[in-house]
Amino acid sequence: MKAVLPVSVVIAAIVVLWYGAAVWMNAAWVRDQAARAGETPGFAQIVPQTLNQERPVLPAPHQVVSELWKGVAGQAVTSKRSLVYHGWITLSATLLGFVIGTGAGILLAIGIVHNRAMDLSVMPWAIASQTIPILAIAPMIIVVLNSVGVTGLVPKAIISAYLSFFPVVVGMVKGLRAPDAMQLDLLRTYGASQRQTFAKLRMPASVPYLFASLKVGVAAALVGAVVGELPTGAVAGLGARLLSGSYYGQTVQIWAALFAAALLAASLVALIGLAERLTLRRMGMGR
């Protein structure tokens, strides 16, 4: 509860800065219009006109909020104008990609930890894969999969998986290697097999690392799904809303879609945080 004051101060500061920036950036258009009409408006006349433009350079916070509200609650969820409709399309690709990416990441990590050849051969490729800009590789994935007849959800999910497997690999390798020499020696004195060492020591020890990775991974998966929607020509999804907004100069729509994506990512991370708390408490590691 002590955090309420500082948190609200920070939010208030952001809103004030945002309004200031909106006035400053949108004023040029107001002055332009006035000049054409042969008027010279004062500051007090300019300000209100900067905050309610149809295509502002930077939409004011209340415009974004109302567009968001209109997109979420003001439409039937099946409407092409509904952010719930577009959000669901992006979310389904995100979740499928996240599941694929997490599964692949965990399997790769298990291989890397148990096999020196895999450690040497897979890890550099995993790192290299993340140095390629996703914007460059996403259209190729879409096109290649399209040409073999795979369209719709799966290509986007694969781009999501491509981004989300990496934090899981890195986190799980670290987590599976977390037990120290003493703990491994202890199991050796019991004559434990490699399988038992994995099940009883390495896997439980890696759980906190897994959750940290999942939080990064799910946010990356959402970015992947949004990026995957861009090259398909803006049919559906939050990425499509972003793209069509930028085609038609609908800045308010772009910002509303951006915020919808951010809220979605925040909810996904919060859900994983909740699962983390419950799991760690069950394991006796939550305090």
Binding site: M182, D185, L186, R188, T189, Y190, V207, M283, G284, M285
Partner: protein, 266 residues
């Protein structure tokens, strides 16, 4: 229970044991020419400065290191075979309890790995918890226990599968002196009740003299034995035995042994 032939057989026997680690700076002689027989039911302490090989010797007995020269038998078997025969339990300096398991769950760990039935696991866990005076703490998690209690739980874990030999590598080294005194007393009590053979690494002279029937003084570079002292103290030892002349005489002899091995040269 045990036949006389088995009683006569030494618990641990090392002959001209040597262990050389090959490092980038050349060979390091962790152990050289160590010959030692530990009888059944003995409480043997290994004392010496860092690098004298006391831990390496204990780890060799537990088949965690493999000597490069000489011979070593545990209950008449090679250490690897002795491990499979569950001849020894090992206690490390840190309790090393799994934070995700309760105290009972931690003690159950070796039993699960060794394939004891569920009913037998429960029975054994309850028994060793009583033995280390942790009855009623089975459902607690490690972080809910003090450091001394955690170390007691780790001793219980090593006792759970009924090994005859308990190998302890500075088990109380990280605890404060008051807790250490109490645990020393409890350990002697446990030893006299269970009749186990105990190998105990320490670098505390009073601890070694108070606990042991035999004290092995070691010295570094190369790691070797400089003196083996058979303690004249009785098996029954109250804490204030540490103020008797006999105790001080043994302490003096340990100190002399350490000095003879140039252990005080730094």
């Amino acid at each position: 229970m045990k036949d006389t032939a088995r009683l006569a057989e030494p618990a641990i026997e090392a002959r001209s044991l040597g262990l050389t680690f090959q490092t980038a700076d050349g060979p390091v002689h962790a152990l050289r020419d160590v010959t030692l027989t530990i009888g059944r039911g003995d409480f043997v302490s290994f004392i010496g400065p860092s690098g004298c090989g006391k831990t390496t010797f204990l780890r060799s007995v537990a088949a965690l290191e493999h000597p490069t020269e000489g011979s070593l038998t545990v209950n008449g078997m090679a250490p690897d075979a002795a491990r499979l025969a569950r001849a020894f339990g090992y206690v490390f300096q840190a309790a090393g309890l799994y934070p995700w398991r309760t105290i009972a769950g931690n003690i159950r760990l070796p039993l699960e790995i060794m394939g004891f039935s569920r009913a037998e696991q429960d029975e054994r866990v309850a028994r060793v918890l009583e033995l280390v005076e942790l009855g009623g703490f089975g459902t607690k998690f490690p972080w809910q226990l003090s450091g001394g209690m955690q170390q007691r739980a780790s001793i219980a874990r090593a006792l759970a599968f009924d090994a005859d030999i308990l190998l302890m590598d500075e088990p109380f080294g990280a605890l404060d002196e008051i807790v250490r005194d109490r645990l020393n007393e409890e350990l002697l009590n446990l030893w006299s009740r269970t009749g186990k053979t105990i190998g105990f690494v320490t670098h505390s002279i009073p601890e070694a003299v108070y606990l042991s029937t035999r004290i092995v003084v070691m010295s570094p570079r190369p790691g070797r034995i400089t003196d083996v002292i058979d303690s004249p103290l009785p098996r029954e030892r109250p804490l204030d035995i540490r103020d008797t002349p006999e105790f001080l005489a043994v302490s003096q002899r340990v100190r002399d042994g350490l000095r003879a091995g140039h252990s005080y040269d730094v």
